[in-house]
């Protein structure tokens, strides 16, 4: 990717694209299109002829029974794990040509402990051959954008869990990805930190409006953050239901006790319980 392309892409977008527009997807803004995805493990098919459409610029949470392959799904969509058959396109182009980032569950294993926090955040830019000056400039503007107050000259192991995962997310955002994959990013954090990080992530989403695919094992979190919740079945995995979450942003801790929120969450839980029971 050229440096100009990068700079162009960082130009501030005016507001976020209104929801309605995303629904009337044009030919170039078709979002994620998964077609005929097939993956076989030793004990049978985990995905067989699986189709899925995600809209450009929406926040999708992925939730489902144990072993339904939530992480496998986003690994295959993002191109990090091979699939046996099928294709994935984003806005009409192959996913390999898409600027994407990935946030891992285990930040300890995903950050580079030999680099300071600042080095970690800048690393993707180094891979893009940006010079030091433009790297520094981009980090500065990213930090200003999200009002981050972490001493970036520390090593990751000198930071708290929440701070480390924040660094991970900043590292993922520095390339201004078109699509961001998050694999249970908050599951290793305590509840207080999780609530804080959910707000921080929403803040990112509301500013950037890039497509987010968020795997969670926590239904509350899945509903709180999403435009739509993708509920999966047991393997061979299909889409059980895609539940829209029409609640205003941002959704803070108060939202969690809002009757609409509770209704959506309990509906998701019903679908989930039905799918869990079906497998037994």
């Amino acid at each position: 990717m050229s440096q100009e392309a990068l700079q162009r892409s960082t130009a501030p977008r005016v507001g976020g694209a209104p929801r309605v527009e995303a629904a009337h997807a044009t030919s170039t803004r078709r979002g994620v299109e998964v077609r005929g995805l097939t993956k076989q493990f030793d004990d049978g098919y985990i995905y067989r002829d699986f189709d899925l459409d995600l809209r450009d610029g929406e926040f999708v949470s992925v939730f489902g029974p144990n072993g339904c392959g939530k992480s496998t799904l986003i690994n295959m969509i993002s191109g990090m794990a091979p699939m046996d058959a099928g294709s994935v396109q984003f806005n009409g182009k192959p996913i390999a040509e898409t600027r994407l980032s990935y946030v891992f569950q285990n930040y300890r294993d995903a950050l580079f402990p030999w680099m300071r926090a600042i080095g970690n955040i800048q690393y993707p830019l180094k891979l893009l051959h940006l010079d030091r000056k433009s790297r520094d400039r981009r980090v500065e503007s990213l930090l200003a954008e999200f009002d981050i107050r972490i001493d970036l000259h520390r090593y990751p192991y000198e930071l708290s869990g929440g701070q480390q995962q924040t660094i991970s997310i900043l590292r993922a955002l520095i390339t201004d990805p078109e699509i961001l994959f998050l694999d249970e990013p908050f599951s290793a954090l305590d509840y207080e930190m999780t609530l804080f990080m959910r707000e921080r992530l929403q803040h990112v989403f509301m500013k950037r409006r890039n497509t987010m695919v968020f795997v969670s094992h926590d239904l509350e979190e899945a509903v709180q953050l999403a435009d739509r919740v993708l509920l999966l079945t047991r393997p061979p995995t299909r889409v059980a239901e895609i539940v829209p979450v029409d609640l205003p942003w941002p959704r803070d801790a108060k939202t969690l006790s809002n009757p609409d929120f509770v209704a959506i969450k309990s509906h998701c839980l019903d679908v989930f319980s039905r799918e869990v029971a079906r497998g037994q």
Partner: protein, 265 residues
Amino acid sequence: MKAITATSVKRARRGSLANRLQPAVGPLLLLALWYVAAITGLLNTRLVPAPGPTFVTTWAALVHGTMAHDLTRTLVRVLYAFAIAAGVGVPLGILIGAKDRVYRSVEFLIDFFRSTPSTALFPLFMLMFGLGEESKVGLAAFAAFLIIVFNVAYGVLNARKTRILAARSMGASTLRIFGDVIFLETLPQTFVGLRAGVSIALVVVVVAEMFIGGVDGMGHRIIEDQYSYNLKDMYGSLLVSGVAGYGLNYLFLLIERHFVHWAGR
């Protein structure tokens, strides 16, 4: 475990002087034992000279005699052997460890040669490289190389996959992943290999100096001392060799602590 750690921490805080002297207790005890055994005639002083005269002779040999030269020669050989072993062993270990299949197919070879006493290869190396420097350095390099390559390959094989995946998701090329991630990820295990390697290189060099023709080096000095019954110098040479080995190991530990600051954290 935790209780013990807590106690030792508490102990460390109390009386730092006593704490710092603790490691000296063992050596001082051994010295005292040596001294007492010598003056009471428990040990035959013709076989084991008393500590005082031994130290005096050693000091004189180091400062005015040829011991410093022998020590330097030995250390230079160790350095060459180690440089060759590390220069070949680290990159090769990374390559071997990177592919599970490659590692499996050479694992037996490495284990076999690692289990073969390197000193048994003296005759072979003498045939191949003659009686000069090449065979001494070559054999030590070979022994150190095996340990280094094994440790590095093992470290790469067991490297956490998440960081590699993370780098790949950012679009890093395979070459960059090797240089930026796998090499550093493996560094703690690499240092285990390097430290073991430098120790074995010293052992092999000293033994090689004894048996592969030569005119200098600590091994040569020790065997000459034994032939000429120069026992005070022999014990002195043993002590100095020991200090050299310990020093090398400690030096690598310091380097490791500096470069691998993240290990275990």
